[in-house]
Symmetry: C2
Subunit: 310 residues, 2 copies
C-alpha cells in the first residue's frame, strides 16, 4: 500500500500541475523532450508503488468530489449574477487513441453531471462547412455556471487541413490569429479556458489501435482512416508542436499531459481542472431573501412541527 | 452488514421495478395510496438493515457500470446505423425538493458522461413563449445513441398553467393530446421514453425546504415562491394524479418512485433505467472493415514489434 495521506487530496510535488505541464508559448514546443510515460508532480514512491493505479483512482475521486462542490458554487454564482458569464471550458486534443474519451469518462465522470456540458466535434457536416469554422464552436459553448468539455475542438480546423493538405496554408494559417482573438473574447466574457493536449507515444498508439482490432466490443471505435492518419504521425506532431507553442496565451494556456499511463493522465487532468477552479475563488452567493421571514412562512404552511424532530 | 450478494446486482424482489412502479393509465392515480417512504422491490431485510444506504449506493454503482456498457452499445449502434434513431429519454418530474437534482447527481453520475445529455427546463423565456410549448423540448432531444435527461419537462406546461391559474383550461387541456401525439412520434423515431415522478410527502418537503433555509451553502436553491407553490400542494397533487394517469401510454409509461428515502429513490431510478435499456436488446455492431487486413496495415506502420510484448 502506498501511503497516500488517507482520505485527503495529496498535493502535487514540485509546484502546481499547471506550472509543471504548461506549454511554453512563443515557438514550437519540443514534444520529443516530454516523455509520454513521465509523471510530473508525482513523487517517485507513488509512481513505483504497486497500488499506483488504485491510488490515482482514489485521488481522482477525491479531487472530483471537491470539484463538484466548486461546480455548485459556480452554478449558484451564475444564477445570482448571470451577466458575469463565469464558466469553465476544458478543451481536449490528442492523436487518435490519445485518451480523450477515457479522460472524460474517468475525470469528468467524477464531477456532478448536472453542471457539465460535453460536446464532441467530428469532421464538419455540410451545414457546418457553409459557416465560418468557429460557428459550430460558438454554438456549443457552455452557458454561464457550467463546465463545458470539448472533445476535439476548433484546433482540428488548423490540424486537419494542414496535415491532410486539404486546404492551402493561406486558409489555415490565419486561423491562428482568429482563434487567439476568439479565446481572448471568451476570457473577457468570463470563460476560464483550459486547453489540454494528451501526449502519447507512437508505440502506445500502435498498442491501443491493435487492442481495438483484437476486441470485438471495440471495433466500433476503429476506422481504417486511423492507420492513414498514423502514417502521418510526424506531420501531426510537427503541427501540434507549433500549435501548442503558438496558440497559448496567458489567459488560455496549453498544457501537455503525458498520457501513455492512463492513471497519471487522469490524475493530472483532475488537478488541472481543480487548479483552474481554484483561480476563480468561488463562494456561495448570499441569500437574496429574508431568511427569518421565509422560515416563518414555511412553518405556517403546516407539517412544520415534524420538521425539527426529524 | 447486509448480505447483498457480494459484487453482483441484486435483482428486485416481486417483479421488475417497471412493473412494480408503473402508474396505471386510464384515470387519476391514487397518490395517497402510494407511501412516499415505501420501498417496492426491496426485501424487508434490506430495508431495515443498518447498512441499507451503503448497500443501495453500491448497488447503484453496479447498475451504473452495467448501464455504462449499454450506453456504449447504444452509441456504437447509432454510429453504425444513425437512421434507426435509437436513444433513451429520461423525464424527471417532482414537487420542489422532490430530488430531481440529487437523482441526476447520484444515478446519472454513475453512468458514462460521454453518452449523456442533460437539460433543465425553467420557466419559459420570452423567446420560448413566442413558440409552441414543445418547441424548446424538441430542440433539447438527445441525438441518436445518447441518453437524454430532462430535469422538468413539457409536463410543466400542463401543471403550472393549471395550478397557478395562469391560463384557462382550454389552453392547457388540449396539451394532453398534443403530448401524447408527441411522445408517440418520439417512440416511432426510436426514442425509449421513461417518465418518472419522484413522489415525496408534504412533511418531507417541509423538512427539505427548512434544511435549505438553515444551510448558507444551500440558500441559492431556495426561492420564496417555493413556499407559495407549497401552499398549493393539494392542487399540484391533484394535477399530478390526473397527469400520471392520463399521459402514460404503453410506449411512454409513467413510473411513480417513492422518494422520501433518497437511497431507495436512487436504487429504483437506476433499475428503471437498466430495465429500459434491457428492452432495447443492445449489442455491439459488427466491424465494417476487414480486420485481418487492418491488422497488417497497422503492423506495417512500425513500432508493432513492441505491440505484442507490452
Amino acid at each position: 500500500m502506498v501511503d497516500d495521506g488517507g482520505f485527503d487530496v495529496a498535493p502535487p510535488a514540485g509546484g502546481t500541475v499547471r506550472d509543471l505541464l504548461r506549454a511554453a508559448p512563443g515557438g514550437p514546443v519540443d514534444l520529443g523532450a516530454i516523455g509520454p510515460r513521465s509523471t510530473p508532480g508525482l513523487p517517485d514512491r507513488l509512481v513505483t508503488g504497486p497500488d499506483r493505479k488504485g491510488w490515482a483512482r482514489r485521488q481522482v475521486g477525491l479531487v472530483g468530489a471537491g470539484l463538484a462542490r466548486q461546480q455548485e458554487m459556480l452554478f449558484a454564482g451564475a444564477k445570482a449574477d448571470p451577466d458575469a458569464g463565469r464558466r469553465v471550458l476544458l478543451v481536449l486534443q490528442a492523436m487518435d487513441c490519445g485518451g480523450k474519451d477515457g479522460t472524460i469518462k474517468r475525470v469528468v465522470g467524477a464531477l456532478n453531471p448536472l453542471g457539465v456540458r460535453i460536446r464532441a466535434f467530428g469532421p464538419p457536416t455540410a451545414e457546418e462547412l457553409r459557416h465560418h469554422f468557429l460557428w459550430r464552436i460558438r454554438r456549443a459553448l457552455p452557458p454561464p455556471g457550467y463546465l463545458g468539455v470539448f472533445n476535439r475542438s476548433h484546433y482540428e480546423d488548423i490540424l486537419v487541413p494542414r496535415v491532410q493538405a486539404r486546404a492551402p496554408e493561406q486558409v489555415w494559417r490565419p486561423r491562428y490569429a482568429e482563434i487567439e482573438d476568439f479565446e481572448r473574447e471568451l476570457t473577457a466574457a468570463g470563460v476560464a479556458v483550459v486547453k489540454i493536449f494528451l501526449h502519447i507515444s507512437n508505440a502506445e498508439q500502435a498498442r491501443r489501435l491493435l487492442a481495438r482490432l483484437d476486441d470485438p466490443t471495440r471495433h466500433w471505435k476503429y476506422h481504417p482512416s486511423d492507420v492513414d492518419a498514423r502514417a502521418r504521425w510526424d506531420d501531426y506532431q510537427t503541427a501540434y508542436a507549433e500549435l501548442l507553442g503558438g496558440c497559448g496565451t496567458d489567459a488560455a494556456p496549453w498544457y501537455v499531459v503525458p498520457a501513455d499511463r492512463k492513471w497519471y493522465r487522469d490524475w493530472a487532468v483532475a488537478h488541472l481542472l481543480r487548479e483552474t477552479f481554484d483561480t476563480l475563488a468561488l463562494g456561495y452567493p448570499p441569500a437574496d431573501f429574508d431568511i427569518r421571514r421565509e422560515r416563518e412562512r414555511l412553518v405556517a404552511t403546516g407539517q412544520a412541527a415534524k420538521v425539527n424532530g426529524s
